[in-house]
C-alpha cells in the first residue's frame, strides 16, 4: 500500500475513532444514568453495525460462486469486513448482559405491541414470572429462554467466523502460492456457506429482533435483515471505493465501469429490500389476524408512520429512480451520495424495525438512539480500516485476475 493511501486511511481512522469514542463515552454515561434506555438504544445500534460485517461475509461468498469484476475489485475491503466479525461478536456482550440481568422490581417495563408488562430490560421472555403466567410465552419457552438464546448467538458467531476465516485463509494461500486447490477450497466453503448463512442469519434476526415481541412472527423477517446486510455492505463498498480510487493500485480499475457495476448491484438490492419488506406487509395485511397486525399498526398508524413514509421515499423510490440512470451510476460524484443516503436509510430502517416495540404509541427518539450507532459505527469503521491496512492490497495473482476480469468486462 502506498504512503498516500495509508496516510489518508490513517486520517479517516483517527476521525472515526475519536467520534466513535465520544459516542461510546456518552453511551457509557447513559448506561449509568438510564440503563433501560441504554439497552434499547444499544440493541438498535448493534443490529446496525452487525450488518456491515455480516454483509461483507455474504457478498464474499456470493462472489466466490458467481465471479465477476465487481467482486474482485472490492475483495480486499470485503475481506477487511470479514475481519471485523470478532469485534461484532464482542459488541454483542452488552445485549447478553441485558438478558442475564433484570431491572430492579418497580422499574418494570411494559413495552411491546402486545403490552407485555414484566420485569425485563429488552425481551419479555427473560422475565420468569411473566413466562409462567402467559400461556403463549410458556409454550415458546423451549426456544425462547436465556441459555438457548445465548447458546444460539454464540453458535451463529462461531459458524460465521469459521466460514469467514476459512475463506480468508484459502484466499491468502492462493495469493501466496497460486495453488488452484486453495481457491477451490474458498469456493467449496462458499457453496454450502451461502445456505448456512441464510439459515443462521434468519435465526439471528428472529432471536435478536423478532423476539422483542415474542407473540409476533413473520417468516419473511430474516430475509429482510439478510438483504439489508447485503445492501449495507454494498453501499459501504461504494463509499470506500471512492476513498481509495485515486491511489495505487485502484486508479487502474476503480473508474466509471466499476461504479456502474456496484451501483447496479446496489440498485438490485434496493429493489430486493423493497420487495421483501413490502411482501411481509402485504401478507400480514391480507391475513389480517390479531397476532400479526399489531406490529404494523404500531409502525404505520401512529407517528411512526413518518418513518415508514421516509423509508418508502428515501430507501426505495428516490434511490430507485436515481440508480436507474446510467450517468449517475458511472460517476463517483453522483453514485456516492446515493450510497451515503442508502447507508443512512439502512439505519433508519433498523430503527423502524427495532425501536417501535419500546415506544408503541408514538415516535420518541432519545439522544442515545443517535449516540449508540455513532459510537459503535465509529469504532467499527476504525477497526475496519485497521484491518484493511494490516493486509496487502495487491498480490501478483490477484492483480492478474483483476486485469483479466477488467478486460473481459469492459472493452
Amino acid at each position: 500500500m502506498n504512503n498516500d493511501l495509508r496516510s489518508k486511511l490513517d486520517r479517516i481512522q483517527r476521525t472515526a475513532l475519536v467520534v466513535g469514542a465520544l459516542g461510546l463515552l456518552l453511551v457509557a454515561w447513559g448506561f449509568v444514568s438510564d440503563r433501560g434506555q441504554f439497552y434499547r438504544s444499544y440493541l438498535f445500534a448493534f443490529t446496525c453495525v452487525a450488518m456491515f460485517g455480516l454483509g461483507s461475509l455474504a457478498l464474499t461468498m456470493i462472489h466466490y460462486l458467481t465471479g465477476g469484476f465487481w467482486g474482485l475489485a472490492i475483495r480486499r475491503q470485503l475481506e477487511a469486513g470479514i475481519r471485523t466479525l470478532p469485534l461484532v461478536g464482542l459488541m454483542f456482550v452488552p445485549v447478553a448482559l441485558a438478558i442475564v440481568t433484570q431491572p430492579e422490581p418497580g422499574a418494570a417495563a411494559a413495552h411491546g405491541e402486545h403490552g407485555l408488562a414484566g420485569n425485563y430490560w429488552l425481551y419479555p421472555w427473560t422475565d420468569h414470572a411473566l413466562v409462567a403466567s402467559d400461556h403463549l410465552l410458556h409454550h415458546k419457552e423451549p426456544w425462547l429462554n436465556v441459555n438457548g438464546f445465548l447458546g444460539r448467538t454464540i453458535l451463529y458467531f462461531v459458524i460465521w467466523l469459521a466460514m469467514g476465516f476459512g475463506i480468508l485463509r484459502a484466499a491468502r494461500k492462493f495469493d501466496e502460492t497460486g495453488d488452484p486447490a486453495a481457491e477451490k477450497r474458498a469456493k467449496y466453503i462458499s457453496g454450502p456457506g451461502v445456505l448456512i448463512f441464510a439459515l443462521t442469519i434468519t435465526g439471528a434476526a428472529f432471536d435478536w429482533m423478532m423476539s422483542l415481541d415474542p407473540k409476533w412472527y413473520s417468516t419473511m423477517y430474516g430475509v429482510i435483515y439478510m438483504v439489508g446486510c447485503g445492501l449495507a455492505a454494498m453501499a459501504f463498498s461504494v463509499v470506500f471505493t471512492s476513498w481509495v480510487k485515486d491511489h495505487e493500485p485502484y486508479p487502474a480499475f476503480a473508474k466509471g465501469p466499476l461504479f456502474h457495476d456496484l451501483g447496479t448491484l446496489m440498485f438490485a438490492m434496493t429493489m430486493l429490500w423493497a420487495y421483501t419488506s413490502f411482501s411481509q406487509g402485504l401478507i400480514i395485511w391480507s391475513g389480517n389476524i390479531a397476532e400479526e397486525t399489531p406490529w404494523y399498526l404500531v409502525r404505520a398508524e401512529t407517528s411512526w408512520q413518518i418513518v415508514l413514509i421516509a423509508l418508502a421515499v428515501l430507501h426505495f423510490a428516490l434511490p430507485f429512480f436515481l440508480l436507474l440512470m446510467r450517468r449517475i451510476k458511472r460517476d463517483a460524484s453522483f453514485v456516492v451520495p446515493v450510497a451515503l443516503l442508502l447507508l443512512v436509510m439502512r439505519h433508519v430502517d433498523m430503527y423502524w424495525q427495532v425501536v417501535p416495540v419500546f415506544h408503541p404509541t408514538a415516535l420518541a427518539p432519545h439522544w442515545m438512539d443517535f449516540a449508540a450507532p455513532v459510537g459503535l459505527g465509529g469504532l467499527w469503521l476504525a477497526f475496519f480500516l485497521n484491518r484493511f491496512k494490516a493486509h496487502p492490497v495487491t498480490s501478483p495473482r490477484h492483480d492478474t485476475a483483476v486485469q483479466a476480469a477488467l478486460g473481459h468486462a469492459h472493452h
Partner: protein, 180 residues
C-alpha cells in the same frame, strides 16, 4: 416510389479486415463531415457507438412503457374494484391499494418488456426483407469475418469521386459501389 428521384447507387462500401480499421474509418468520415454513414461488424464494437454518435433512445421509451403499464394496472383495478364491481372482502375499503401493488408491478414489467422488444424492432427498421446491400456478394462476410463501412448516396456531401478517394485513403481491402 416514382415521385422520388433515385440515385443510381445506394452508396459506396469499403471493406476492412480489422475492427480497428473500421473504427478509424468511421472516425475519419465523421471528421470529414459525412453524416449518412453506417458500419457493419460481425461482433459488437463498443467504441463505434461513440464514434458514430449513436444515441440509444430506447431506454426512455421503455421507461415510458413501464410507467404506462403501471398506470394501466392501477386504472384497471380501480375500475373493477371501486367503480364496476365493488366487493366486500374482509370489510376492507374498496380502494385497498396494497392489493393492487402486485398486479401493478406485473403490468409495469409487461408493458416495459413489450416496449423494449417492439421498440427495438421498429427503431432498427426490422423486419427488412430487402436492402440494397444484398446486391453486394461480399457483404455476406459482414456476419462472419469482415468489417464494412458505408457512405450513403443520400449524404449531402456525397460526390462519387471524392468519396471514393476518401475511402481509398482509409486503406480498405476493397471498395464497391452498392447499386440501388
Amino acid at each position: 416510389m416514382a415521385a422520388k428521384t433515385h440515385s443510381p447507387i445506394h452508396g459506396l462500401l469499403a471493406e476492412f479486415d480489422k475492427p480497428e480499421a473500421l473504427v478509424e474509418a468511421a472516425r475519419q468520415a465523421r471528421a470529414a463531415g459525412y453524416t449518412k454513414v453506417e458500419a457493419f461488424s460481425p461482433m459488437p464494437i463498443h467504441a463505434l457507438d461513440g464514434v458514430l454518435g449513436l444515441k440509444n433512445r430506447l431506454p426512455f421509451f421503455v421507461l415510458a412503457g413501464g410507467i404506462t403499464g403501471m398506470l394501466t394496472g392501477a386504472a384497471l383495478q380501480y375500475w373493477t374494484s371501486v367503480i364496476e364491481y365493488p366487493t366486500d372482502i374482509g370489510g376492507r375499503p374498496w380502494l385497498s391499494w396494497p392489493a393492487f401493488v402486485v398486479p401493478m408491478f406485473e403490468t409495469t414489467i409487461l408493458f416495459a418488456a413489450l416496449t423494449a422488444v417492439f421498440g427495438m424492432l421498429i427503431m432498427n427498421g426490422l423486419p427488412q426483407p430487402y436492402h440494397p446491400l444484398f446486391h453486394v456478394k461480399r457483404f455476406a462476410e459482414a456476419t462472419r469475418s469482415r468489417f464494412f463501412f458505408l457512405i450513403e448516396a443520400e449524404d449531402p456531401k456525397f460526390d462519387l469521386p471524392s468519396v471514393r478517394e476518401f475511402l481509398a485513403r482509409q486503406k480498405p481491402t476493397s471498395i464497391e459501389e452498392v447499386p440501388n
